[in-house]
């Protein structure tokens, strides 16, 4: 099959996914669903998940491939959330405290993660996946045994340890989403969260135009060139790992405040996969990604995830959206894995 050049540039999988999204909206219009609510949900989901997708960019640009070990950063962010909640810090300060603690943890943890990935070169994706899995399951034990005593966090009666989901109602539930929020044609825009996402995108974009960012990308692009230019790609890879872990930590804090709950235990286990699918759908490859890929991919995939359930339930009984998610998400990752050489 030969596609016109412009279409090829856009990529067949992205085309199919865009068409699928268009079809979902077509059905939504045909069945006279409330489009305003649908679009509002899409925007909220983009703002909620965007930073977790953005977190993958430094890893790809730094030559670590798809960061299946995103839960490493997510765990750091979750610890930040739990500690901040334990001290009962409300409002924006609470979010800031959670981020501060999360980032503070993510820097050394990310450096250690980068060190490990340097030692396991060539198997970064596999090591990242299982390191994430092991960490999430190991942390489950920690959540059970952790010395937190704030009654809003631990199980009221019976069980031990922290609750599986911690409600943020009245603490900093949707505090970013609501900041400067406004309505357009019945659609509420979560300004604060959206600005946080876009602002971070801008910062990451700027970062890759600084000395360190340029160095990281150059080392990924050609490690032997980098060596000749006096750059140690072991160091740049650690820098990339720190960055992806830090953004993962920030990402989960923003996610939690938007979602209204902090989810512990096995919740972060599979969080890397939809994020990876997003950036790939946006046109990234295992070795190259741009901010544009992050934005486009997040919008396309999160919109599908948001609309699939309500729209398909108009037509079919049962929740086909989860199945669709599995197929699109993993199909996209498979496509990316089998396409790159090297």
């Amino acid at each position: 099959m030969k596609l016109p050049a412009a279409l090829q540039e856009f990529g067949l999988p992205r085309l199919l996914i865009a068409a699928f999204l268009a079809a979902l909206f077509a059905v939504a219009i045909a069945t006279k669903m409330n489009l305003a609510i649908l679009i509002e949900d899409c925007i909220a989901r983009v703002a909620r998940n965007g930073i977790l997708v953005l977190a993958l960019l430094p890893a790809i640009q730094g030559g670590l491939g798809l960061n299946f070990g995103l839960p490493v950063g997510i765990i750091c962010g979750l610890i930040g959330c739990v500690v901040a909640l334990n001290f009962g810090i409300p409002g924006v300060l609470g979010v800031a405290a959670a981020m501060g603690i999360g980032v503070g943890l993510a820097v050394p943890v990310g450096a250690a993660y980068g060190w490990l990935l340097n030692r396991t070169r060539g198997q970064e994706m596999m090591v990242g996946t299982y390191l994430g899995f092991a960490l999430v399951s190991g942390m489950s034990i920690f959540w059970l045994l952790a010395p937190f005593h704030n009654p809003t966090l631990v199980w009221a009666i019976g069980g031990k340890g922290l609750r599986t989901t911690l409600s943020l109602g009245g603490i900093y539930d949707k505090i970013l989403d609501r900041w400067l929020a406004f309505d357009v044609a019945g659609v509420t825009i979560p300004t604060g969260a959206l600005l946080t996402f876009l602002g971070l995108c801008g910062l990451v974009w700027l970062f890759f135009r600084t000395r360190m960012g340029i160095t990281i990308a150059a080392a990924r692009s050609n490690p032997r060139f980098a060596l000749a230019a006096g750059i140690s790609d072991e160091r740049t890879r650690v820098q990339a790992a720190v960055l992806t872990t830090v953004l993962g930590a920030v990402g989960i804090v923003v996610y939690s405040q938007s979602f209204g709950f902090v989810q512990l235990y096995t919740a972060p286990l599979l969080m890397a996969f939809p994020a990876i699918a997003c950036i790939l759908i946006g046109g990234a490859t295992v070795s190259r990604a741009t901010i544009g890929n992050v934005l486009l991919g997040t919008i396309l995939f999160q919109s599908i995830l948001t609309t699939a359930l309500p729209v398909t339930s108009q037509v079919i009984e049962g929740d086909i959206s989860e199945t669709a998610r599995l197929i699109i998400q993993n199909g996209m990752i498979l496509y990316a894995l089998t396409r790159v050489s090297k």
């Binding site: 030692r119 198997q123 090591v127 092991a134 190991g138 089998t338």
Partner: protein
Amino acid sequence: MKAGLDLKARLGHWSVPILFAVLCLSGILVARLTPSFLLGEMLVRVSRNSLLVLALVIPILAGLGLNFGIVIGAMAGQAAAIFIVHLRLAGIVGFGAAWLIATPLAIVLGVATGMLFNKAKGREMVTGLIAGFFSNGLYQLVFLFAIGSLIPFKDPDMLLPQGYGLRNTIDLTGIQYAVDDLIRFQIPVEGRMLRVPIATYLVIAGFCVFTVMFLRTRLGQQLRAMGQDDHVAAIAGIPVERNRVIATVMSTVFASWGQLLFLQNIGTLNTYNSHEQVGMFAIAALLVSGATVSRATVGQALLGTFLFHTLFVVSPLAGKALAGDAQIGEYFRVFVAYAVITVALVLHAWQAKTRRRR
């Protein structure tokens, strides 16, 4: 110097299983488990899990690494089980029919997986893992939505009330113990009668013998050569790509049979969950024995199954005895499974890197 290195290597070889044995033993002591309980549990668990672990050996030797794609074989086995329940086949006939249906299905899926691996050379493991997730999506699409709607299927006992999609559990009592009880045998232990699934163990023994014999054939030698260095193998005229597909097909087919053997013991099918963890547990079990991403033996598969499932039984009970909470033990065994795989992957990549450096 050489001998010293050998000894060190050998100790390193056994350190993982020894560590595990110690872990299991302390768990047994803490939880005060009786030998009869343990023996009974292990007899059953080893019989129903070994084949799934054995399915991993051949791809490892052929240089494909840990085949995370055996989940796909397990799905083929389940599809076959679903079909014979619909046909109302039972007993060993039912099991045989399931076997006959599962095999060609697994071959087709194995060929597809193998071709995928050929397109993703060097990242077979992560590709296998994702391929498993992807197939799970397709499996759900077929059995949760298409069956009864797009695929003509009328069986109110099996379908959800809405008229399409299978129920979450499917009763397999028809073929339960079909193989296990083919040869009835019970031994009395501490006043309880333990049923020993002799026939199942014979099947497993048959598989071990087959695998060992297979490795001494021409094709087996070719696969072993590929596992060492597929470039050299290709230069020697070995059709590497074709053989990689063959190894994947064998693994997938064995996994489908392994899953059937598992299901006939359990007696119910968790339509949408039974297969999900198959790959992870089988791989963790194999690695517990000290096998690596590039080396595994039949003996290690059996030893690993035994050790891993001992831990599996012991850990919640020990957790309850220690902390008064079985939950901790359950998290612990999942953690151990993931951690074992992580460590094996790290060691593999680490060693590969040092080798390259030299």
